[in-house]
Symmetry: D2
Subunit: 293 residues, 4 copies
């Protein structure tokens, strides 16, 4: 555990993940100001005024989903919504690091204008790979809940072979699902073969669509389109893990009676404590790199 | 697929599993009379009168849960409950095989008095082993739904190492849970070690109870008792797969704030189609052995 | 570690396995007399006279292969062969436990006549299951050495599904071999299916024989006979793990140009230290049960 | 299978891998001229004169190890060594593709001067990933041959987490070795954690060195140096898979009595047929891309 003594951070809003993070940072010695987050610990100081919360801190930690397009803070435990204003952010000195999962345009622009250093945690390879574990388990859980058959022995298609696709394919294979990976390039296909999966490229996806029980899409582009959907058995389940709006033609699926579910942001939903521990693994190191010079 | 031409069976009551079975038998050539089961197929003949349904058949198939202590038929699709009477059963000639999952005392006595051959499918090793797959997946699904952490990396205890315990331990290990198997005899422990699990015997269960995230009990005797419960962290989840009343002191668990769930009969609940396919794998062979001489 | 203080044993002959065992017993506090075994430790006392070695001990430990039909002791480190005579054994009081892997008829008869308690360690389920691990790895190593292809992706047949068959099938599946298990009864087949293997019964073995790369036999009866051999591709490798004379028609195989190897007793050959540790896991408990009353 | 009709290639020298490749290309319809390679097939034409062999071909295929620093051709089946001269190569028209595993400087310079298109197959991600499978199995086989213990339960260190490191770690974990991956960056460590491995970075390598049974190095730089070696138990086995001269201080290891083996080029040695099939998977596509316009 890195020693974070003499360091002070503010965590604003958030959900169960940020509680885990706040408690971890506090245990590591940091002073943790919170706003709208019921975390508890010896160095955790809750504030009712957002301005007081961030005054004088070395870094600001926003929740993983950050703020929406209207700059409203994601805050599961806050009754009154809070808008993150320019005035508020200007309380932070130039160069202060602001951690967030992913930032939308308004936040990015504001940070850049004021001269704050935005750190988007979900863009770190390490975080993305570790988050693929709860994502894959969450996708699996949904498939288990919705299918009348076991994962063992089912015909599963994993579309895309990035971080989530890799971890998901490995999990399905470990559970003895007959798993076919649809991957774009030969190197990804080779990696899938090494894992023990069957493989095909996107041109062959159409032919893989007969006898499928479940399709897991991880590609953020319209790949499960009308053409593919029309080949799938009606009983097929589609779980789309790509970020909204997903890679499935959901209207067409509904029309054909195929159940298709968009399931982004699974880590925070299915395993918030694990998702929080992933933040707690990364944030201290990134903090120290930026704050303690 | 065995050829079941010239064979006629009655399926009374049942749920999604018996639909799969009825359709399989019909596809294999058997005439399938049904009562209270919306199965469809060319050789499936639905009856509204239970007496007509079983008249002249070579075998009677009751649903997996059979009939309750009051001889009421398990029938998910039947609005009016049906009591299986002696009169009804006497329509079957002596020696007729009657298939059921497990039979309670009243059914067993009735069959014995009338001279029917009761075949309890769940007592077949093959069925028990295959059913362990959906049981294990169902237990896993419940754990995923109820825990705020991933299976990957969690500390799991599997108590008992019979069919369900073995399949469950294998699944947990495949998903990278830190898995400890509590088994009675050295041979079972050796088998668990071969799988890659940690092991302990029941005397050591107390010491294994610190730092546990989830306990899966498969032993149908009071093993998760007050003594064990008092050592478990409050956040522990207990999933008890043993047949009712399970192997957990549920009252004590509630008192200690430990979540404990009794989860028997998972295959029919979480994967009815797979559970039906398991019946369809076994019943034709058992039928032919008994009926076609 | 069980406390073996005040206990004295003699280990006669043996190989690398008995060295591991001797050192373990010595570390546990026992006095260990040895004859023809270069083990070293504070409580290990080497003898040059077999009579002195066993005089006054609480138990005698013979090596895993014991003595041959002529009562010659298995002793890898002994230059002069030693015959275990009646005179020698009669130095042990009636009821003294004599440990051995497996006993042939002459030893069994002698022990019975003198009234010694023969303990055949290889007959313990626990030992057999644990020994299946080095056996399976040894079989795999031989296959790797002899095949020009990888285990990954090869077509493997595992004939028989006892302890070695189960562990071997699991290992092959873990390495992504396409694995078919030939098992006699439906319960064994169900267990193989649960593992993710393909299955067939012995009647279907003939049909499974096309396209096979490697056959692992574990059945101690002539199952890989002329009929099966004639269907196998010439390039097939047969590794026969059944105890001598194995389950393969080796003459016919040679005639057909199929490489077939009899490979019994692998644990002691490929992983003597692990095999010794397995003895060290079991012998102390069995000793204490018999000697310390 | 791609159709290679109307295509003509020369394969010069080579070993068992190139035999597989030659036969595959011939089956796909290509005319395959060979020199010093006993491959057989309807379109395979053996030549005794290297000049005649390459005259008029669309592409030249050199063996995986190519030619050495003195331009001598790698040719397992050739009694008289052949030097690849400028004169010989100039028989190929400018722009002709020349396939080779990896090219040393002299070959690279010659090709560049004459204007031939050198294609180094081992630099293709796909080939490197697929070759990692036989490499990992070969490394495992060596470990099995040299260790007196099973892989199951042994303490293994995998140093480096590129393609070979990843596949090797996965294999070790599948075989239930206690596996620690030493990886440089957090993203690689995250991937190793997702697999179920323990991880450490290079700074911690020293601390991981106690209790190790086997070290697999895949890093082509001196990482297993004097400092690390001095912490390893004497019984440790080191298998160095990095390209020559490896990443181990072999002199120091010998001095300390630690067995260390340099094992480069495993695919061609332990699984030549699989290695040949990997070539056969890639070469046709690369050929067609370059030759058929």
């Amino acid at each position: 555990m890195l020693d974070l003594n003499n360091l002070s951070v503010a965590i604003m809003g958030g959900d169960a993940r940020e509680i885990v993070l706040a408690e971890y940072l506090s245990n590591a010695g940091a002073i943790v100001n919170t706003f709208g987050l019921p975390a508890q610990g010896k160095n955790i100081v809750p504030y009712r005024d957002p301005r007081e919360c961030i005054l004088g801190v070395d870094a600001l930690i926003l929740p993983v989903p950050g703020v929406n397009e209207q700059m409203r803070l994601h805050a599961a435990y806050l009754e009154q919504p809070l808008i993150i204003t320019r005035d508020l952010m200007e309380l932070l000195p130039r160069g202060t690091p602001v951690f967030v999962g992913l930032a939308r345009k308004p936040l990015r622009e504001l940070a850049s204008e004021i001269g704050l250093e935005l750190v988007e945690l979900m863009r770190l390879d390490e975080v993305a790979i570790l988050n693929a574990i709860p994502s894959a388990e969450g996708a699996l859980q949904m498939a288990m809940e919705k299918m009348p058959i076991t994962i063992h022995g089912c015909n599963a298609l994993v579309v895309g072979f990035g971080r989530t696709g890799q971890t998901l394919a490995q999990l399905l294979l470990a559970m003895n699902a007959k798993t076919t990976v649809i991957a774009r390039n030969p190197a990804q296909q080779a990696r899938a073969i090494a894992m023990g999966a069957l493989t095909a490229d996107f041109a062959e996806l159409v032919n893989c669509s007969k006898n499928v029980d479940v399709v897991f899409n991880t590609v953020p582009a319209l790949v499960i389109d009308q053409n593919i959907l029309s080949r799938l058995p009606a009983k097929t389940l589609i779980i789309d893990l790509a970020s909204a709006p997903g890679g499935t033609d959901f209207d067409k699926a509904r029309e054909l009676g195929i159940e298709a579910v968009l399931a982004p942001g699974l880590p925070g939903k299915v395993a918030p404590k694990t998702a929080g521990m992933i933040l707690a693994r990364v944030v201290p190191r990134e903090l120290v790199q930026r704050v303690m010079k």
